[in-house]
Every structure is written in structure tokens, then in C-alpha cells.
């Protein structure tokens, strides 16, 4: 399509000219947690690129998930799944999925549950080890409804651009809040529990058998590698060119859901702290931005520095809000209360404090 035709299509679709993409980090630029992680039934969830989660049940397949530099023209990164342990014989309830979860308050423009419900189009670049049918599903988590669409990979191990349009749903309004309303699922493996029916190509009450009919098995060979990037979801039935954002813009958007304060050097300090006894201290930590919900707090290799450095042994949060947390930490002996210091990296460049408010 020529640039003029693209612009005409964009205007004709009545789609916004900017902020079209409802997906954060669709180009897989941001990976605060790690750039590589093992993914199996015992280690699923948010592992590598921000906002994208893995879910797995039953199967013995093991993947290494990573932020990878293999990408189509115009992109620097992709999310790679490297199958390291294959499972070519799935049991009925087995599955592997890649998720993207969206707040209901960010989906109100779809007018779901009304006569004016709008279509959405999801476009992306995928490089699959398998040709044939792959399934992309939208689940309405507020009303337990689903719609699934098949896309076909024509050539194995080659990036292909896909556009998938989903009808609007006149049933089931989405909650106008900060909870999860839509879950996008790229199916990667699916047992017969999810494939034995008729694919739900129109919105319906979620029926397991209709969710992933025809899905190929991405994890049936330890030589398999699956890549995805350039994910865009926009209102309407017209896919437009990927809306590239700056790294800083994407990072800021990701921080509504997850923030990790890392050590720039061995003694990086994150906040002022003071001892409340010889072996305890308090500190308050302000986040980079307001978060979606009160986050879970965790840390690794931090300490209390008051000149001398003492290690952090355990902690408790006294208050956790959307903007900051108050922490009560047990520390090595500082001899007395009211010693002023910092909550910092405990002589360790791998130290971090993290706040997790993901969906």
C-alpha cells in the first residue's frame, strides 16, 4: 500500500492518528525483569519483556524466553521462545499461552456490550517454526466471553506480518476500572480440551473446546524457536503501520505496572532511612509514577548504609500506596536507634527493589 493510500485508509477508518496502539511494549523494547528466563509449568508469569506473560499447564515442554535482537525490518527486538525440552504428545488439558492483559478503563472506547460495539484489529510480526494454523484469542474477563481467530503461517522460521480483526461484541459491557477486562492469548500449545470443538470465531460464552481449534504444537521439537514483535491493537478493521514509540515513552507506560530500581553501582542508594533500634530501620520509597494498584514489594541484595554498610535480612511494609511505600527492615547491627542512613545496594551491583502491580 502506498503512503497516500495508507493515510487515506487511516482517515477513512476514523482511527486516531496517534495513540492508536492499545498495546504497551509491542515492539518488545522494555525488559525490566530479565532479558532471558526459563519458562515451564513451575516458572510461568511475567518473565522477560514487560507486559507480556506466559501461562502453561500440564505439558513437560520447557522454553527459554528471551528478548532477542532477531526482528523484522524496522524493529530491534522480539520476544523469543526457544524450546529446550519438547512435548510432542500433549495430554488433553495441556497448554502453553502468551498473554497480554488490558485494563477495562482503557477499553471503554470499544463500546462493548452496546449496539455500537466496535471491531478491533490486532497486527503483529510472527516467526514460527511451524506452518499452518495458529490461534489468537480475546477473552473478556469481566463477562467470561471469548472470541478466537486463526491466522496461518505460510513459511516456517520466517517473519510474517499478520492482521487479525475481531468483531465487536454487543453483549457484556466491560468494567470501567483498573482490573483486567481483556486478555489477548497467543496459543502456542493446546491439548484436546481446547481443540475438540468448533473455533469460536464469534463472541460466545467461553467454552474450553472452542478456544484453540487447529492450533499447531510450537513445542514439539527441541529445535523450535518462536518469535513475535510489532504487536498493535487498534479500534476498527483497518490495520495501520506499527506506531513506534520512544524507549522512554514505552518504559514510562510499563512503569504503571512494574518498576525495578536497579543498582547503578555497588552502593546505589534509593531512599533515606533511619534506624528504629539497633537491628531495624525504616525507609519510605517513592515510585517513579503512580501505579495501577498497590504493588507487591520485593528486593534483592539491599542494605542499610550509615557510613558502615549492614545487610538487610527481612522486611515488612507498613504502608503501600499507589505512589510510595513505607518499609520496616531488619538489618545488621547498627548499635542504636535514630541512626540516619540510606536504603541502598549492599555492595552488590545486582541489587534491586521492585514494585509489581501487574494485571
Amino acid at each position: 500500500m502506498s503512503k497516500a493510500a495508507e493515510l487515506a485508509a487511516l482517515i477513512g477508518s476514523q482511527t486516531a492518528l496517534s495513540n492508536r496502539n492499545l498495546i504497551i511494549n509491542g515492539a518488545m523494547q522494555v525488559a525490566q525483569r530479565a532479558t532471558s528466563a526459563t519458562f515451564s509449568t513451575s516458572s510461568e508469569g511475567y518473565l522477560v519483556t514487560d507486559r507480556f506473560a506466559f501461562s502453561m499447564n500440564g505439558t513437560s515442554t520447557v522454553y527459554t524466553a528471551s528478548q532477542d535482537s532477531t526482528a523484522p525490518d524496522g524493529f530491534s527486538n522480539s520476544l523469543k521462545l526457544d524450546c529446550t525440552t519438547a512435548d510432542a504428545s500433549l495430554s488433553a488439558g495441556d497448554f502453553t499461552q502468551l498473554h497480554y492483559r488490558i485494563e477495562g478503563q482503557d477499553l471503554q472506547q470499544l463500546q462493548k456490550g452496546t449496539s455500537g460495539a466496535k471491531k478491533v484489529t490486532i497486527s503483529f510480526y510472527v516467526r514460527s517454526p511451524k506452518t499452518g494454523t495458529h490461534i489468537l484469542e480475546i477473552q473478556d474477563r469481566d463477562n467470561t466471553r471469548s472470541i478466537s481467530k486463526a491466522y496461518t503461517v505460510s513459511t516456517a522460521d520466517t517473519f510474517e506480518y499478520k492482521e487479525v480483526t475481531f468483531d465487536g461484541d454487543t453483549s457484556g459491557a466491560l468494567n470501567d476500572d483498573n482490573g483486567e477486562s481483556f486478555r489477548l492469548t497467543w496459543w502456542l500449545q493446546a491439548g484436546s480440551t481446547y481443540t475438540s470443538g468448533t473455533l469460536a470465531t464469534s463472541w460466545e460464552a467461553t467454552t474450553s473446546a472452542n478456544r484453540a481449534v487447529g492450533q499447531v504444537n510450537i513445542g514439539d521439537d527441541a529445535a523450535n524457536n518462536f518469535y513475535i514483535t510489532g504487536i498493535q491493537m487498534e479500534v476498527g478493521e483497518q490495520a495501520t503501520p506499527f506506531e513506534h514509540r520512544s524507549f522512554g515513552d514505552e518504559m514510562t507506560r510499563c512503569e504503571r505496572y512494574f518498576q525495578r530500581f536497579v543498582a547503578n553501582d555497588a552502593y546505589t542508594a534509593w531512599s533515606v532511612a533511619f534506624s528504629t533500634s539497633a537491628t531495624s530501620a525504616k525507609a519510605h520509597l517513592k515510585y517513579n509514577c503512580k501505579m495501577r494498584a498497590e504493588p507487591t514489594i520485593s528486593q534483592s541484595n539491599t542494605g542499610f548504609n550509615h557510613g558502615p554498610q549492614v545487610a538487610f535480612s527481612s522486611f515488612n511494609t507498613l504502608y503501600t500506596g499507589l505512589d510510595l511505600t513505607w518499609i520496616d527492615m531488619n538489618i545488621g547491627n547498627v548499635s542504636a536507634a535514630n541512626v540516619l542512613g540510606h536504603w541502598n545496594a549492599n555492595a552488590n551491583t545486582a541489587a534491586y527493589v521492585q514494585m509489581d502491580a501487574e494485571l
Partner: protein, 57 residues
């Protein structure tokens, strides 16, 4: 989500302020707020009888 070693954390007045636990091997302080996915999962496991939260120290 593997949740282990759960116990309440409390403020100096003895009010419970969070759930301290290990989630997938990481030591965490989980705020007692519906909508935090970890707290929601903790409550689901408690309701199912799969998890017990110990009293604060």
C-alpha cells in the same frame, strides 16, 4: 503461582499491614488490597484451603 511461608506483617500497633511470603521463590510483601494479583491469588488459595497465613510476629 507458588506461594509459601505466608504470614502477616504488622505495624507497631499490631495492625496487619501486608502478607509476607515467598512467591515463586522471591520474598515479597503483598499489600492487603483486592486487585493486587498476588493478594487475590493468596485469598483464592486460602479460601480453597491450600494456604494458611500465620499471625504476625
Amino acid at each position: 503461582m507458588l506461594i509459601e511461608n505466608a504470614k502477616y506483617g504488622a505495624d507497631p500497633e499490631g495492625n496487619n499491614t501486608c502478607v509476607i511470603c515467598d512467591i515463586d521463590g522471591e520474598h515479597c510483601a503483598v499489600p492487603m488490597r483486592v486487585g493486587n494479583r498476588h493478594y487475590d491469588e493468596i485469598m483464592r488459595q486460602v479460601a480453597a484451603g491450600d494456604l494458611t497465613i500465620a499471625d504476625a510476629d
